[in-house]
């Protein structure tokens, strides 16, 4: 278990399994819609469910790098793109629910809501920022942009994560109920802080190295 390195075929299997698992929440929603099990307020159910799953996948995506470093399972990086795209998938469903069932594709009315209500403004911004990341997720785009520029662009995910948490926090602020946004906030903060700590350590090591070389 300690030094698990899947063979290409095993990795393909893991990826397929992850893909199917990641689609289960969507399948459940579709089934509930079809069998009329969404409860008294179906729109609220779908909105909350897709919002929750966006945050779950965001946490999973951000967890890949720390997990990989701690476990030394480098192959985990190969799952990250799919997880990231599922963030975009559930965020798109969340946004579509808002645009369709709340505003019936009245884009002007929807934009008025975006401008007027800060929690929607930040949620919408986070969604828009996800688009370039999804678009540049292919191997071809990585090559075209060059690894370094691509990496810089994809650091946007940190901004998106902060905006996503703020969106949830402000939404719940109206009901004075911070338990869930607090849990998500702590997880995301932890995942970002561990990166900051490693970056700081690396810089210190480099400086020390530079010192010995002088």
């Amino acid at each position: 278990m300690m030094n698990f390195h899947p063979a290409p075929r095993q990795l393909a299997f893991i990826k397929s399994l992850l893909f199917i698992l990641a689609l289960l929440p969507f399948g459940r929603l579709a089934l509930f819609t079809y069998t009329d099990q969404l409860g008294a307020n179906p729109v609220e159910f779908i909105t909350r469910n897709t919002g929750d799953w966006t945050l779950y996948f965001l946490c999973m995506t951000l967890a890949v790098t720390p997990l990989r470093r701690l476990s030394k399972w480098n192959w985990l990086i190969k799952l990250r793109r799919m997880l990231g795209l599922f963030v975009f998938f559930y965020a798109s469903l969340h946004f579509t629910t808002f645009l369709w069932f709340d505003h019936f594709f009245d884009v002007r009315e929807m934009l008025a809501d975006v401008i007027k209500r800060p929690f929607i403004t930040v949620g919408f911004t986070a969604f828009v920022l996800l688009i370039p990341l999804a678009v540049t997720s292919t191997n071809g785009m990585v090559r075209r942009l060059g690894g370094r520029r691509w990496q810089w662009l994809h650091r946007l995910i940190y901004v998106i994560a902060a905006l996503g948490i703020l969106h949830y926090w402000w939404m719940k602020a109206g009901k004075n109920d911070f338990e869930q946004p607090l849990i998500f906030g702590l997880i995301v903060a932890g995942l970002l802080l561990v990166r900051a700590y490693w970056a700081w350590q690396k810089r210190k090591d480099m400086q020390a190295l530079a010192g010995t070389m002088m």
């Binding site: 409860g39 307020n41 209500r117 004075n176």
Partner: protein, 326 residues
């Protein structure tokens, strides 16, 4: 629909609720035909309203209440299941499924309601005395939640004014405060989401308005705990949170009460909190609402009515800027 004027003569029905002449004439002809037979007219009215309800619990204790035709809306009543499984009652948890899950465990007998403060005759009443204090009426009211959804619920109770008359408020009684129980089954009290106990309040003239209902039942049955059993207030022209549930105290006071949601977020929940499509909540529009059980996924939300359609309360706020006193 029968339209009975209120004693104060300001009960103006909503245009959408006025039954077309042809319809009521045919109904009247039908009722006359039946009344000429052996069935009593009252029983017929009872049957007609009952028919509109979806199935009730079937297990809860029945509560006899006479339908009051002055308080009927033509909208279809919400199903018993939706009304009893989807609601806010933060004492039992912050999501909408928790009240139905945890509230039934709460003991509601014995239960006493203390009426105190600026009154000549303070008293403590148990549920049986409350049930006997005035004849129970069934009234079908719209319920508009501040979150943007609505229901139509047949409540059983009587005007709070009946109780207020009995305790004889003094001239110092300018406001009425309602205090919700703090029961051991209310695990939500462990989290400081609100400053417990839950306190709500009305101005004395609002409390005396005949629409304000001291409520002991719904759907012809004893009020389920999750909906505020054994006794609650229903103020149909205000957002739902103004209607305190499972109350143990009614206090008559001189100053405006410090109400739970107003204390928690004064910018978002005003003391008055009258249903008003023109005053948005900072986080969402109040111009429209989703009727539970009807406005499903693909139905557009319906417009919210001023005072939730109860325009007869407008004189209570004559000359007040309702944007300022939201």
């Amino acid at each position: 629909m029968l339209i009975k004027r209120n004693p104060n003569g300001i009960d103006i029905p909503f245009a959408s609720e006025i039954t077309p002449r042809a319809v009521f004439e045919s109904r009247r002809a039908f009722i006359q035909k039946i009344a000429a037979g052996s069935i009593a007219g009252g029983a017929l009215l009872e049957m007609a309203t009952r028919e509109a309800f979806a199935a009730t619990s079937g297990t809860a204790q029945k509560l006899a209440a006479k339908a009051n035709p002055a308080y009927v809306v033509l909208d279809k009543p919400t199903s018993y299941k939706d009304a009893t499984t989807y609601n806010n009652f933060y004492e039992f948890g912050t999501d909408k499924e928790s009240p139905a899950r945890y509230a039934p465990k709460m003991q509601t007998r014995p239960w006493t309601l203390a009426i105190e403060g600026e009154v000549r005759k303070p008293m403590t009443l148990d549920i049986d005395s409350l049930l006997k204090l005035a004849p129970l009426e069934e009234r079908i009211y719209r319920l508009r939640c501040v979150e943007g959804w609505s229901m139509v619920i047949p409540w059983s109770g009587y005007s709070l004014a009946e109780l207020i008359k009995k305790v004889e408020p003094t001239s110092n009684a300018k406001y009425v405060e309602f205090v919700t129980a703090e029961d051991k089954e209310m695990h939500g009290l462990r989290r400081p989401v609100l400053d417990w106990p839950y306190v709500e309040g009305l101005r004395i003239d609002e409390a005396l308005h005949p629409l304000t209902l001291l409520t002991l039942g719904m759907y012809g049955e004893v009020l389920p705990n999750q909906n505020g059993g054994p006794v609650r207030i229903v103020v149909p022209w205000k957002y739902g949170f103004k209607s305190a549930k499972s109350i143990v105290k009614i206090r008559f006071v001189k100053d405006q009460p410090r109400t739970a949601w107003n204390l928690a977020a004064p910018r978002e929940y005003g003391f008055y909190s009258n249903v008003n499509p023109q005053v948005d909540h900072p986080r969402w529009s109040q111009a429209s609402e989703r009727r539970i059980g009807e406005d499903g996924l693909f139905a557009k939300k319906r417009p919210t009515l001023m005072f939730n359609g109860y325009s007869q309360v407008a004189p209570l706020y004559a000359g007040m800027d309702l944007k300022k006193f939201f």
